[in-house]
Point group: C2
Chain length 485, copies 2
């Protein structure tokens, strides 16, 4: 709860920084009490927790700039934060940071449909953008599962994906311009049109997890809604058959808007969740395959997909019979992470990427890892992209189990990297996978990335020590994370 003026004056007396922040952002815009800060100890990655020094809520680019200049001048580290839905701990403090929450900067600033663009503030909720232009027949493509609550600013930080990225690409493919506050407080404008000359700094900043500055205004591309949609659900006895069907669909030259898979454990979870579909308990895998485009060809594409599944021993396959059924299928899928709570006290979502052809091999390896650690692993994935989300289920109350879950998750990522894949598709590196960066980068490559960071963030004050392992510290951070309450 925000304090009244008197309380704020007292707080400023105890810690001048609070007073200085309040003088920039006004009364009722800074949290500093222990009980208020607890909610900001972590984001969607709950393994590591640490209290921020304070949370400040600026309302404008100008205020962000002044807050950052203040913190920069005092060498106080700071972290931008959106809705806190991130899954890799990118918005979790490490020690003494001030969180700069962007949730008050939540305006839709401009819609320019003739040029297919919209301009939003960073705290604007992802799904609101699509909703606000739906009537005119447009939408914003990137659709992370958290789209009802995550912010577009956070999406920029993580280069967020979603179920429909197979056809439409991830966030970086939809960002046309950025305004940002650099780590020294200066305001920078980038882009606004496609094909900006010079180096692609917009691309560099998208997915930089808040380590290069704080984005304060975003110009995104919006798309015309497809004329028609068709969603096919396919139920398989065996996950291998489902994997082969995925390859066959892609090989047939079909580019589905979405191509999602859940395995048996995942199905068990979603069926216990808030949106059960009624999938049989003994299923090996479910595929959701959505095609979109002009109405004329949709029916035939769906039939072609059904025929492919039938050749791969599908138990049952059909198109959704109504928009209501389609929505039920998607709600069921999109709640998958949260629904794991019905199976297990705790879980870690992993986020590996592999070449599509390695799917059966990596799934077998994940089963081995699951057996080795005695922990169930549910697999939910954007199968068309080769983007796996293995969910490692564990119980933090059992001594040692958190540590085992972290190790199992890390081994899953190693398995992905070993087949020529990588350690994150859309959730970012954050605090969680800093060490795993070594699976895909050499010391020299990491040094080069850090040199790029230093151009923007030379003092490492802006979301410090995220994304990259620091030779002397990454092991301890990981251990501290594992030991955290």
């Amino acid at each position: 709860m925000f304090s009244n003026r008197l309380q704020e004056q007292e707080a400023a007396g105890r810690d001048p920084l609070i007073g200085d922040l309040l003088s920039i952002t006004g009364p009722g815009s800074v949290l500093y009490k222990h009980e208020d800060l607890v909610a900001y100890e972590c984001d969607g990655y709950v393994i590591h927790k640490a209290k921020p020094r304070a949370v400040v809520f600026p309302s404008s680019t100008e205020e962000v700039s002044r807050v950052v200049k203040l913190l920069y001048s005092r060498k106080i580290p700071f972290i931008p934060r959106g809705a806190g839905t991130g899954l890799s701990g990118g918005a979790i403090p490490i020690g003494g940071e001030v969180l700069i929450s962007l949730v008050r900067m939540k305006k839709l600033l401009k819609i320019d449909l003739p040029n297919r663009r919209a301009v939003v503030q960073p705290g604007y909720i992802n799904l609101k953008l699509s909703n606000s232009i739906a009537e005119k027949g447009y939408y914003y493509a990137p659709d992370p599962s958290s789209q009802r609550s995550c912010t577009i600013g956070g999406n920029i930080g993580e280069n967020a994906g979603g179920a429909h990225c197979l056809k439409y690409g991830v966030t970086t493919n939809h960002v046309l311009g950025l305004q940002m506050v650099l780590p020294d407080g200066e305001i920078l404008e980038l882009g606004g049109v496609p094909d900006v000359p010079g180096y692609d700094l917009i691309g560099l900043i998208t997915g930089s997890e808040g380590t290069l500055g704080i984005v304060t205004e975003i110009t995104v591309r919006v798309l015309k809604k497809p004329e028609a949609l068709k969603t096919v659900g396919a139920l398989f006895d065996r996950v291998e058959d489902a994997s082969h069907a995925v390859s066959d669909i892609i090989s047939a030259g079909i580019i589905p808007a979405a191509l999602e898979m859940m395995d048996q454990t995942a199905i068990e979870g979603v069926e216990r969740g808030n949106y059960p579909v009624g999938y049989p308990k003994d299923l090996g895998a479910v595929l959701l395959i959505e095609v979109d485009g002009i109405a004329a060809g949709i029916e035939e594409q769906a039939e072609q997909i059904i025929a492919i599944c039938e050749k791969r021993n599908v138990r049952e396959v059909r198109a959704a019979s109504s928009e209501a059924e389609r929505t039920r299928w998607w709600n069921n899928r999109k709640q998958a992470f949260g629904a794991m709570g019905t199976l297990s006290a705790d879980y870690i979502v992993q986020d590996g990427v592999i070449p599509r052809s390695k799917l059966p091999e990596v799934l077998a390896k994940i089963a081995d890892i699951s057996n080795h650690y005695g922990l169930r692993i549910a697999n939910v994935f954007h199968a068309g992209d080769g983007n796996l989300h293995p969910l490692v289920l564990f119980d933090a109350r059992v001594p040692g189990e958190t540590d085992k879950a972290i190790k199992a998750g890390s081994e899953v990522l190693k398995a992905c990297a070993d087949v020529g894949g990588t350690i994150t598709g859309e959730h970012g590196v954050g605090i969680e996978k800093k060490e795993e960066m070594r699976y895909v980068f050499s010391e020299e490559e990491i040094a080069l990335q850090l040199a790029v960071r230093d151009v923007f963030n030379p003092e490492n004050l802006c979301n410090p020590d995220k994304m990259f392992p620091s030779p002397s510290r990454c092991v301890e951070v990981k251990q501290a994370a594992a030991a955290a309450p």
Copy 2:
């Protein structure tokens, strides 16, 4: 012509650098004689010319690395060069550079169709990739007009586009991995899968015009060929009607694979070129609109496009009646730049980008500029992307006309920037548009980009002084360019 061993020994005696280069790349791999170097004085941008110190032809990444280490150790500047088809002078020497030609590194290293990837050396010709996988039903999407001769390495440097980028994106959307030699000679590997964690260095390097290092191996995405194609040709009396038709097509939710326009002057040129179609002489504009996808919907999309054109006073509109006719239409369009030679002794191709809705306004402004300078300007453009290619026609033999053409081109770019557009869509900045970078970037923004360059290229030896204006020198370079023979 390459020299024999004896000549090479003599040359090495006169200039030890030649001997040192030959010792790395072997006999018959270095050009150094005046008559041989003349061919390397410029690339597709012929306004500025300067002789390189030598041209070296390495055959492997290892050789590139050793050549670069040698040059780096002696502080000798160098420039990577592909086929020399670039239109902004990115491969033109400024003073004393060694050109590193990649044309001997022209292998197709790997095709991995299940994962839709191919790995090529930088000297591999763009069109060869599509040709080599066409039988299996695949192709490589970026298709610059020069695709019969340009290299994929050069495409990376310029982030090349092409007629089909409206639907499929430019080069950067198709690069999955890079091997490169950094400006100090070290070899770096980046990516190989989508969604690489860390900063998007592949995106940073794509389009960096050879200023961050020399790309020596490229992993690209290949696509399944669409099941069906349909190309509509629409002939308009007035360019305004054609512009409105472009907007209407996009507004209707159709995303054509290509949406190209030529105005009256451009049509006059292409009709005199090698691939005349027989367009009437008094036409105001031609649109080529290509849709692709699954066979089922294609016919209806083409009909919808035809109906839209009919509402915009089209004189004649129909789909190509055969593959042969379609090829004729495209050959005619793709030779547009070269065909300007039939209208004028010389021309400069410009490359501005504007928000699509500003098309009529900017075309009117270009007409004003044309009148003001008394120089004809033909307009050929990727209308769907808002990417204009105004061709400023002039005669370099007429005193002062080159200078006028440069000024007119620059004013066209200013007009694009003034409506919220930018100065290059796909041709790069090179030596040509360094000064025009100021139309879109502040001093601070340019300084930030230079700081990023310094991370990779701290000594500015790798394609020095391209892309960015240097406060004290850009005016003189421009004047020197104008005064060049």
